[in-house]
């Protein structure tokens, strides 16, 4: 409830402060930052190349020489997890980025135009939404081939409808807001209305959803890889898991470490997403 008409109110509570107030979000942010840093620095940090065979004895548990142990081909699991994280995060952010961009454009056009354009675009998004997602991904990847870029593309194509619907809903309410009319009266053309007036106000939920989508995309990729539909030339966390499934019982470290990495990444992304929701929601700022 805003009862107080603050003449020249002080600056709102800073975004950082709200975020920090939510301790789990702050912690998750730190974890995510660390994971990103580690993934980026994989070539510097990894003791071996991810594909290098026989860098140590096969199937040795974690020890001083191989912190995460080795797999049945004598590859260093630590190196593989570091590089795998790199690829998984690339897939996650890449797919979510493309899906978000596509969703903003489609949803923005639908929501801003309304009427027939809106109806048509929304029917298209519904087509994508009613097909079981994982199944379609399998079909797409099987059809176009399992390169890492195809996988990113397939996941993006599956994910944009969610963002599109969200953006459309935001645009539908925002376009009737008085400040949009005010800009129109000032003579602003449609492009300025969409990108200068409406979009900045619609971004908050999109950013939150995009963040959550990164985690979903990583899981989807892991699932595809696990089914053997991943890009065999790129070591992703999913691929590591898939290769290790035969020896899981005898060498727990070959699945546990990549599993923990993916778990940490997805969990921190989700918690960060929720935290962002609090930060970006203007109501939580006025408390």
């Amino acid at each position: 409830m805003s009862m107080v008409d603050l003449p020249l109110a002080p600056r709102p509570v800073s975004a950082l402060r709200i975020f920090a107030r939510n301790r789990s979000a702050a912690l998750a942010g730190l974890v995510l930052a660390a994971l990103l840093l580690v993934a980026l620095a994989a070539p510097l940090l990894a003791p071996y190349a991810p594909g290098a065979i026989g860098v140590g004895p096969a199937m040795v548990g974690p020890d001083a020489a191989h912190l995460f142990g080795t797999d049945e081909l004598g590859r260093d699991v630590l190196s593989r997890v570091l590089y795998g994280l790199r690829i998984s995060l690339l897939v996650g952010f890449g797919a979510a980025g493309i899906a978000t961009a596509l969703g903003i454009v489609m949803g923005g056009i639908a929501g801003f135009s309304g009427g027939l354009v809106d109806d048509l675009l929304m029917r298209v998004t519904e087509v994508f939404q009613v097909i079981p997602r994982f199944f379609l991904a399998v079909v797409l990847v099987a059809f176009f081939g399992a390169s890492i870029w195809n996988i990113i593309g397939a996941i993006a194509i599956l994910s944009w409808p969610d963002i599109a619907r969200l953006v459309r809903a935001e645009f539908l309410t925002l376009r009737t807001r008085q400040f949009v009319d005010a800009a129109r009266v000032a003579g602003a053309p449609a492009g300025v209305l969409i990108f200068g007036e409406i979009l900045p106000n619609a971004l908050a939920p999109v950013v939150v959803n995009g963040t959550l989508m990164v985690g979903q995309a990583m899981l989807l990729e892991a699932g595809l890889s696990y089914l053997g539909l991943g890009d065999p030339s790129q070591v992703s966390l999913g691929l590591i898991l898939q290769e290790a499934q035969q020896i899981m019982r005898r060498a727990w470290w070959t699945t546990a470490f990549p599993g923990i990495a993916i778990f940490l990444a997805v969990l921190s992304l989700n918690v960060v997403g929720d935290g962002l929701n609090d930060v970006l929601n203007p109501r939580s700022r006025e408390r």
């Binding site: 009862m3 107080v4 003449p7 109110a9 002080p10 509570v13 408390r287």
Partner: protein, 329 residues
């Protein structure tokens, strides 16, 4: 004066926010006699709504009632248990809010909602409660109440919804109705109907009315006595005649001058300069002093008490000091 129905002494409700402590209600005292119509007038951010909510003990964290007493029908509401308080709310004390739609369940027929309100306070069967509801709907002059009973809120106009809310309040025959900006969301012609209805119910049920409003026109038409609120405090009080025809506090005077009624053309708009104070950072001394055209040197550091005059007007202003007996504020 006879034993008042409601007597509030030094009520203090603050809101604890990140920006500091908002002193929304800062030592408010007021009384309401049985059957009396009293106005609590103020602009937004004056603390009037928080005062009304505090009477019902509604404030929730971060807002907190810190001190004072609210004596209602011989009991101090601030010392009652939450359970006893629930019996008072919607029982002897009813509240009518600005926006009726937020207080009605959109998925429930309005007749059932009124019946629920009845059963909340009196043990009775559903059929009997519905009969009570019908009676209440007649009381608030809803046309064809038998039919309207089965409507959902969205099928009713804003004015009708407000009548439903008033019907819920009158089922318990309250001795005090608190109406917080009850007509602000309504059209002028509907506002006139609702205000007349409230005035009529006051006579029919013998209940007192506390009208929280910013509209001096409504005060003039419907209230016997007036409390003017500014910066979380009562700055002036008296009968409606006194307040309108002989206001003494510069804020009340300025408010009167800037009020535009349909009865005369004002050639020059007389505004109060500046903005209402920030309740989290009230100026020292009299909270009106930065905007006051009649400011004295002492106003900037000495907060005036409420000075009562022989006529019964009390003004929180140093200019009212002369020839009056000082009353504890």
């Amino acid at each position: 004066m006879a034993e008042p129905l409601l007597s509030v002494e030094n009520l203090v409700t603050h809101i604890f926010t990140d920006h500091g402590v908002v002193k929304a209600v800062d030592g408010v005292s007021l009384t309401i006699a049985p059957g009396e119509a009293v106005a609590l007038v103020g602009e937004s951010g004056s603390g009037k709504s928080m005062t009304a909510q505090s009477l019902m003990r509604l404030p929730r964290p971060p807002a907190r009632i810190l001190s004072g007493s609210v004596r209602f029908e011989g009991r101090d509401l601030l010392t009652l248990s939450e359970r006893e308080m629930r019996a008072i709310r919607g029982g002897r004390m009813g509240m009518i809010f600005q926006d009726p739609s937020t207080y009605l369940n959109p998925l429930m027929r309005v007749g059932d909602q009124i019946a629920e309100a009845v059963m909340l306070h009196r043990k009775m069967r559903r059929a009997a409660a519905r009969a009570e509801a019908l009676e209440a709907m007649r009381l608030v002059r809803i046309p064809a109440p038998e039919t309207v009973m089965d409507y959902y809120p969205h099928q009713l106009s804003g004015g009708m919804r407000q009548r439903i809310l008033i019907a819920m309040v009158v089922t318990s025959r309250p001795s005090l109705m608190i109406a917080d900006e009850p007509t602000t969301a309504l059209d002028v012609t509907v506002q006139a109907q609702i205000m007349r209805l409230l005035a009529g119910l006051r006579t029919e049920l013998g209940s007192a009315l506390l009208l929280i409003t910013h509209d001096l026109g409504l005060v003039a038409e419907f209230c016997d006595r007036v409390y003017v609120m500014y910066g979380g405090r009562i700055v002036e009080t008296g009968t409606a005649e006194d307040i309108f025809y002989a206001p003494r506090h510069p804020y009340t005077r300025a408010l009167m001058r800037s009020t535009l009624g349909p009865e005369r053309r004002v050639e020059r708009f007389e505004a109060i300069e500046g903005n209402p104070p920030n309740l989290a950072r009230l100026p020292p001394g009299c909270s009106f002093n930065p905007r006051c055209p009649e400011r004295l040197a002492r106003c900037a550091h000495d907060a005036p008490p409420l000075f009562a005059s022989a006529s019964g007007v009390a003004s929180r202003c140093w200019l009212a000091e002369g020839g009056s007996d000082e009353r504890a504020a």
